[in-house]
Subunit: 338 residues, 4 copies
């Protein structure tokens, strides 16, 4: 399998929702919803993608020859690469009806675990999505991160019970989902949480808790204050609010602010192992890649997911060799140019 | 009605003057006059539009859940949103002969008032435009802002008499109209006003007075010195002078300079509620949107105007929720990235 | 006559050498030589043009109403506008064989004088060009600026004798012509001049002397030291050296350095009265426009030249009104945004 | 021969691998491998090319007339221009099967020597390439720079024996070749070298040693510490690591850091004598041009190589005349604008 073949195959199932572009940069799908596009003027995904291109890597091959160690400790789980497949929901609506959310997560969670990484799973209107995701994660020994929407406290209590089945070691919430159309008119209302409410939720979860959708230093510090153990610097690929800054632009200050106690992940337009390297150099511990994993799965099922993971992971390893980083901890700001 | 349908319908009446583009950015109509385009090299409207895109909003949903309050006190009148429809003149010439200025203003003023906002009405060569606009505003209980051209003192005296009929609470003058071709060769001459002349005019108006067409700190301070209660930071959409800076570029310094005593409005390329949010974060109290209201009216008559107002207003409300601003007063510079 | 008609007509005679583009920006003729294009990568003319677009004008119409005074004292001659038609040579080769240099200068010099401005005339391989140009200038009472190439001293002595016939009050030399192919292999060699050589030439000229082709502060100070009374900040439209900075970029420092004793002109991509205004705000006393005058002449003969002069001149007057500059001396750096 | 004819002829043999573009800027071949394109996102070559365009030259022709001296002392060899043809390998695969590496080097080395400059020759999987290159260099009196890959110490010992035959005065190693696919899985492993290993290699070479592929100050200082007499600031045209900075961006700091003791060459997107001038102004002593020499050779064999060398060399001489640099040593940072 080549990446081109994977894309060609994916296109059969995903068009016209997603064009499975050679580089997934948000241009062909600007403002397409349903579809993978971003909201409003639709430049959110473009900016995410382009911001990484403005950061360059400092090649230096005068160092001892080594095989780079790309492994990553994720709350006690050893991952092969600091790469996660992102949570997506309503795949049939946004990417084509070859799969529904349950089928999609079943394939994704296992394929990722087999590839040595973990998938974040999505949450939705229908309970069954989370039920199935939890089962899939459980079947992989807890390798996966169930991600719940910012429901009201009672709903969340039920959600966390389902999550419990997954045997996962971490749970996440995409708190920015407040901006998704389908969550707007919920009763009881969903969305934003005060620090106090979030602290309650973190306790209720009973596991290390990751808040996804942080774009400011203030927000990161509030998540930290609420007891979260990790954050995902994310603007939800431009799908919840139009015209945010790119995640690469805000990452360095946020990573600096939270210090070393928190797990910092980042998503948005990361499309190669070189980009992963840059994210780590800017202070992230790992990255989430979302849309391209959908393409990989639609185009190549389990094999596609594994192939894509190895592609990105090996690009990261190559970059580490060419810049002199033996392990992920060696990757630092001096290794990039911006 | 969707916005797409509204645009499709508008295009029937507006082409080839205006193409009713999905995003009204001044590109398709560069230097088209008559038509909606801007003057000379025609990049005035483009730059206005693009400058807003360079300002990004800081998403943060860790805060108590609230319903944002978008209401706005405009010289004692309570508005649903800090949004005004802009004054336009010679609509039949610039946008298509479905309407003349009298018909256009009649529809616009009432539809805006019904939608909870106010329209600025234009002024022209023919007395009847202002007569009719004043009547339309009066019929809506004074909801509307009659806008006069910078005529000589005697002509203005007559204009203000007509304005009196409108029962409006504010009156405006687009002092930059000096640069419009049709005002160039007037006798007596029209155009620029000294601070002293402007002070006389402000007195003559006998109501809170807004000077539209301010692009410099100096100009703003002169308007303030002349007794104006408000300004509109505006380059007339590029139609009176080629190659001005964009309004977003000059707004922050101007808003800082005039302090809190003046009502600061801004126009030029504001095309979404996210843009409205940014304008307020940069120091404006409200915004004027001109060309897209013409499109909304040509494409959907009263309903179009109301639909468009709700579209922009709800986008503003969404942005407030996603950035943690409960009321317009909460929107501040920390909520944007630039 | 409209400008569009003038261009349409010009195109008949100038294609394929020059496309008489709506805005003459060096894009359609990149690296076309013979033709109007610039040398090498050909981005010299583009950059000149674009640099002016990055400078914006500060509209402010709160000031007394006035008719702007655009007149300009050019070494004792009163000009209607601070605008000069530029020197061009080998017009038949570069712009089409409707005219040769002698015919071209005959028309241009008279039309400019009639329009209240002056033309710079070019110099070339054949003596007759300067002979005819001098006669044409003499016939207009000395209104015109003969421009000689940087020949060797003996040749220049003869050239200045011819120039004497013109009764002109100023003479110029395009010292950067060293980079033109046709001057490269002259015997005796032509081109660069030391300060001492230049001082000799200035004396020999016996009139106020302008050095054209200054792009650095150092060069300007050397011209001043050699006794020149004026300089033209110019990169010869990109035709003598590839990849110079734009003239707008280097003008401010140069104007600052030479102080008020020297006449500072600038050329390169100035295509509207708004651009002329900006050049003056950046420290120039006047501007030279070259290619568009060729188009005006090919497209409209004498009338074309006059029409184009009034077009640019009136745009300058409009800009002065809209920015509050009563006379050219009032135009200052506070009136632009950059 | 014109350059256009040379390109037209080259295209016959090089398409579809290389399009022999009028300006070789990496755009038509983005990410084409095999082929001349760069790796990954493929913007490496583009950025190299464009960075030079952002640096402009300061024209100043007020100076004594001179014939510029472009000669260059390269480790005791007098070169006509500070220009080298770059090492390429697997030409049949990347550029078309008109030539193989042995044939290509045979023509290139001699043509360069005849033109007064030197060629770097490539190294590959097959011993015969270096054998033949060494013979070709020997036949030209040692004019040429054999360039070896970063093999393991034993392999290098053999390579250096072959190099000995060439009678060359300098030898080079492209240490960044670690990132080339064909070197990845070698046994014993090839690639990065520690300072100590490099110092051993430098000694083993027994001649002045140039390390090619330096992109950081740190790397340059390590090469210096290892005893190298020269470096080539190079990102291998984007072919070994995606998304490096451009060489023009990193050159000035590196040249500053190593001081005057080291020979500093630079490659990447240098496509004219004006670019060569800029490189020298930024601190380089000479430049390497790779892809265009392939085109010159495929399109014009020996004559093509000589023609291209004279083209670039004369452009450099012209630029020196127009900026007042009598010799290469006169070219300094004051002569550029950036």
């Amino acid at each position: 399998m080549t990446y081109q073949e994977l894309l060609d195959n994916a296109r059969k199932y995903m068009q016209p929702h997603c064009m499975a572009c050679p580089e997934c940069n948000g241009k062909a799908c600007t403002n397409k919803m349903p579809g993978p596009g971003s909201k409003g003027s639709g430049d959110g995904a473009n900016r995410n993608y382009e911001a990484w291109k403005d950061i360059r890597v400092n090649m230096d091959t005068i160092h001892p020859l080594f095989e780079p160690d790309t492994t990553f400790d994720f709350f006690g789980q050893k991952m092969k690469y600091p790469i996660f497949a992102g949570p997506v929901g309503a795949v049939n609506m946004h990417y084509g009806d070859k799969y529904n959310d349950v089928e999609y997560n079943n394939i994704l969670v296992k394929a990722c675990a087999d590839a040595g990484i973990a998938a974040f799973t999505g949450d939705g209107m229908f309970q069954e999505v989370l039920v199935a995701a939890s089962k899939a994660i459980a079947a992989c020994g807890g390798c996966g991160v169930p991600t719940v929407k910012p429901w009201d406290a009672n709903t969340l209590k039920e959600k966390f019970k389902l999550v419990e089945e997954s045997n996962c070691s971490v749970v996440a919430m995409d708190i920015d989902a407040a901006g998704l159309p389908f969550l707007k008119n919920c009763d009881p209302p969903t969305g934003a949480k005060s620090v106090e409410e979030l602290a309650e939720i973190v306790k209720m979860a009973g596991k290390p808790f990751i808040v996804k959708g942080i774009m400011t230093v203030k927000g990161a510090l509030k998540a930290q204050k609420a007891g979260a153990k990790g954050i995902v610097v994310s603007n939800h690929g431009g799908r919840v609010l139009d015209q945010c800054p790119s995640t690469a632009e805000v990452l360095p200050d946020i990573a600096d602010a939270v210090g070393d106690d928190m797990m910092v992940l980042v998503d948005g337009g990361i499309r190669s192992g070189v980009d992963v390297f840059k994210a780590l150099a800017l202070g992230a511990h790992g990255v989430i890649i979302a849309r391209p994993y959908v393409t990989a799965l639609y185009g190549g099922v389990e094999e596609g997911v594994k192939f894509y993971t190895e592609k990105i992971g090996q690009e990261l390893a190559d970059t580490m060799k060419m810049c002199g980083a033996k392990s992920l901890a060696d990757i630092n700001e001096e290794m990039i140019w911006w």
